[in-house]
């Protein structure tokens, strides 16, 4: 209605103007005009009218186009993918597009005259306040990020871009961009990076992620420790570390253009089979095993996990082991030397004493006096024992680890041991029986010695009945349990451990001869084989010697 009234007034004004113009066109009133003059005026008026009509038509046209254009821009404004808001001097919304209304979850009409702060997360209020101040102060474009709270209470992250309206220094136009997706992607990336970091740090060796351009993207602490720098070309870094073995250095010198060789970052399947790599970044020289490259993510073929295993400790242990082995070898040589000296140099004078005492005894027995015969007897006895001791000690010292264990048929060894003792067994009227025995990986000499000493022991310490010895073996979990049982005098509880000590004797020489080394030899052999030896016995009824030998398969 109002619009119509305005239009009416406009058209009345227009009429007045037109009549005024007509008066200026003719100097006298219309009724005083001649026919010719009237014609001219009428013609003139008609032309004007047409002219006016044409102008009018053009105006209408322009008006229409303007209208179209306005609608078009309004649409663009309203349906823009980002929200637009305009704030008045008091910071109240006085214009908003449909997107903004949608973003805020409210009808557009309800937005007008409302403060924008009502839609901002309470923790982010200051951000927006500062942002507005900055824009008002500098009149230039500013950006911030904050959380928008919709009418329904849901939230989203928004980027806010604001500037003052042209010609209105205190009015602000703001674009609201929903950056939830971007934020999510960033969070996901951060999480992935965090995960990468965790995984890399879980690798107990210097490890890093590099891309095909050999830029270090991530590295664990051990890698950083040896001089790796994030974001840099790995070759530069490794140049500092001197990560190359001599062989690799030569290769890189021979192929100066081949960075693949130079930085020994060969990709994936082509991992360098280098020997040990050393880093000079550390005062201590580190040894590294070959360097590995492998796809970090089977889908993302741009990222490689690059790592080398630090084998410094292993190398040190190897060095130590080698020197210990050397020492051991020297000490073994010493021992052999000692054994030789004992066998030769120690026995030589003893043999002379023995031989001439024998001569003395043979030629002068009964020719001196009774005492002299007795003394000669003591000397002979003493030298005999000394010889036996030296021999036993030698045997004991020669029991050593077999250089190459061979399959040993224990049955054969036992038969040999029995054969060695035939004289003794027959003299005592003894009998040795055995069950089938296994074949084991070991030193055959040791096994024979073991049986011989144990059987000898059983025969020697026989009781009133003729000695009976039985040998058997059975397999338990991962070892063989041997038993040698006898019907001898047995061993009393307190002595069960002592008997395996060297030169330990439980009886006087007049009761039982011997040096007390036999069981010590057995214990040494079993110790070397990694087994155990013990005795179960009931005094007067007999003893059972047990020993175990680990069942080492070839």
């Amino acid at each position: 209605m109002k619009e119509k009234a305005v239009n009416q007034k406009q058209s009345d004004d227009l009429r007045k103007k037109a009549e005024e113009k007509l008066r200026r066109l003719t100097s006298k009133p219309l009724h005083e005009l001649s026919a010719a003059e009237s014609h001219r005026v009428i013609h003139e008026l008609q032309v004007h009218q047409i002219e006016l009509e044409m102008q009018n038509e053009e105006l209408r046209h322009a008006q229409e186009e303007l209208e179209n254009s306005r609608t078009k821009y309004a649409d663009l404004y309203d349906f823009a993918p980002i929200g637009y808001l305009t704030f008045d001097e008091n910071g109240l919304i006085f214009e908003a597009n449909l997107t903004a209304a949608e973003q805020l979850g409210i009808e557009r009409s309800f937005l007008i005259k409302k403060p924008f702060s009502g839609f901002i997360h309470k923790d982010d209020q200051d951000i927006f306040y500062m942002h507005r101040q900055e824009v008002l102060k500098s009149s230039t474009r500013h950006t911030c990020e904050l959380r928008i709270k919709r009418k329904d209470g849901s939230e989203f992250y928004a980027q806010i871009v604001s500037s003052t309206l042209l010609g209105h220094y205190n009015r602000i136009r703001t674009a609201v961009i929903n950056i939830t997706e971007r934020r999510k992607a960033e969070e996901a990336l951060k999480e992935k990076q965090h995960l990468n970091e965790l995984l890399l740090n879980a690798i107990p060796h210097p490890a890093m992620l590099i891309n095909t351009g050999r830029i270090v993207q991530a590295a664990n602490q051990s890698a950083l420790d040896i001089g790796v720098t994030l974001g840099e070309y790995c070759w530069k870094e490794f140049g500092k570390c001197e990560y190359l073995s001599d062989e690799d250095k030569k290769r890189s010198e021979d192929n100066p253009d081949d960075k693949g060789i130079k930085c020994i970052f060969c990709l994936a399947d082509d991992a360098m089979k280098g020997p040990e790599l050393r880093t000079m970044n550390d005062p201590e020289v580190h040894a590294f095993d070959r360097v590995w490259d492998t796809y970090w993510d089977p889908i993302d073929k741009d990222t490689f996990l690059h790592y080398a295993i630090d084998i410094t400790d292993r190398k040190k242990a190897e060095d130590k082991l080698n020197s210990t082995l050397g020492e051991l070898e020297r000490s073994n040589t010493e021992l052999e030397r000692f054994a030789y000296i004992a066998s030769h140099d120690l026995k030589e004078p003893l043999r002379t004493i023995r031989s001439f005492t024998d001569l003395l005894s043979q030629r002068y027995r009964g020719k001196l006096d009774k005492e002299a015969d007795e003394f000669i007897g003591f000397v002979q006895d003493g030298t005999g024992r000394m010889e036996q001791l030296i021999d036993d000690l030698l045997t004991y010292s020669r029991v050593s680890e077999s250089k190459i264990p061979v399959p040993v048929d224990c049955n054969k060894m036992l038969v040999r041991a029995i054969a060695n003792l035939t004289v003794l067994i027959e003299r005592k009227g003894g009998k040795v029986t055995f069950d089938p025995l296994p074949t084991l990986m070991m030193d055959d000499m040791n096994m024979e010695l073991l049986f011989q000493n144990l059987i000898n022991n059983g025969i020697k310490f026989h009781g009133e009945d003729p000695p009976r010895i039985h040998i058997s073996a059975r397999q338990t979990n991962e070892e063989w349990l041997f038993s040698i049982s006898d019907n001898g005098i047995g061993i009393e509880e307190p002595h069960k451990e002592q008997i395996f000590q060297i030169f330990k004797r439980l009886h006087s020489r007049s009761e039982y001869a011997g040096t007390g080394i036999g069981l010590a030899i057995c214990k040494k052999i079993i110790d070397i084989l990694g087994g155990k030896i013990w005795v179960e016995s009931e005094p007067g009824k007999g003893s059972v010697f047990f020993f175990t030998i680990p069942d080492v398969k070839k």
Partner: protein, 160 residues
């Protein structure tokens, strides 16, 4: 230094009667062992002339009849100790085996050592046998008897 020893008259007197006494060279540095060997030979029925030298270089001189050994006989057998000052038993053995004239003489190594290394080395240098000196007198007599029995009665020695 030639000590003719001949004793005992048991069993094979008729065999021995057909053969001249054997010449044995004993290479031994220990006077006690030399004496013992003489006594042992006395104890057993070995018909031989025992010549003794106390070290390796003298043994070589003896075998090559140098200087004072100009008129010694060529031994039928050598009893060789290994452990001696100056040239030891190995050197003597090596010299004997390298000489065309001497290489055929049987050499019996008689040592107090029972070390595997010594035994192996002696055989590698072509000793005819290796005997560890027995500890007791009776064992020693037994050994010398079996040496005599084997080398003088059983086997044929290389002709001169």
């Amino acid at each position: 230094m030639s000590v003719p020893t001949s004793r005992g008259n048991f069993g094979n007197a008729s065999v021995r009667a057909l053969q001249p006494s054997r010449e044995i060279l004993l290479v031994e540095d220990s006077p006690a062992d030399v004496r013992l060997m003489k006594e042992v030979i006395r104890e057993c029925d070995l018909d031989c002339n025992l010549h003794v030298v106390e070290d390796g270089s003298k043994a070589i001189d003896f075998l090559q009849r140098i200087d004072r050994f100009e008129s010694v006989p060529r031994p039928d057998m050598i009893l060789l100790d290994l452990n001696m000052p100056k040239e030891d038993g190995y050197d003597v053995l090596d010299a004997i085996r390298s000489s065309r004239d001497l290489s055929s003489i049987p050499v019996i190594v008689l040592s107090s050592s029972s070390s595997k290394i010594d035994i192996r080395s002696a055989y590698q240098l072509n000793a005819n046998c290796y005997i560890t000196k027995p500890a007791g007198l009776s064992d020693f007599v037994k050994v010398m008897n079996s040496i005599g029995d084997f080398w003088f009665n059983t086997v044929k020695l290389p002709p001169l």
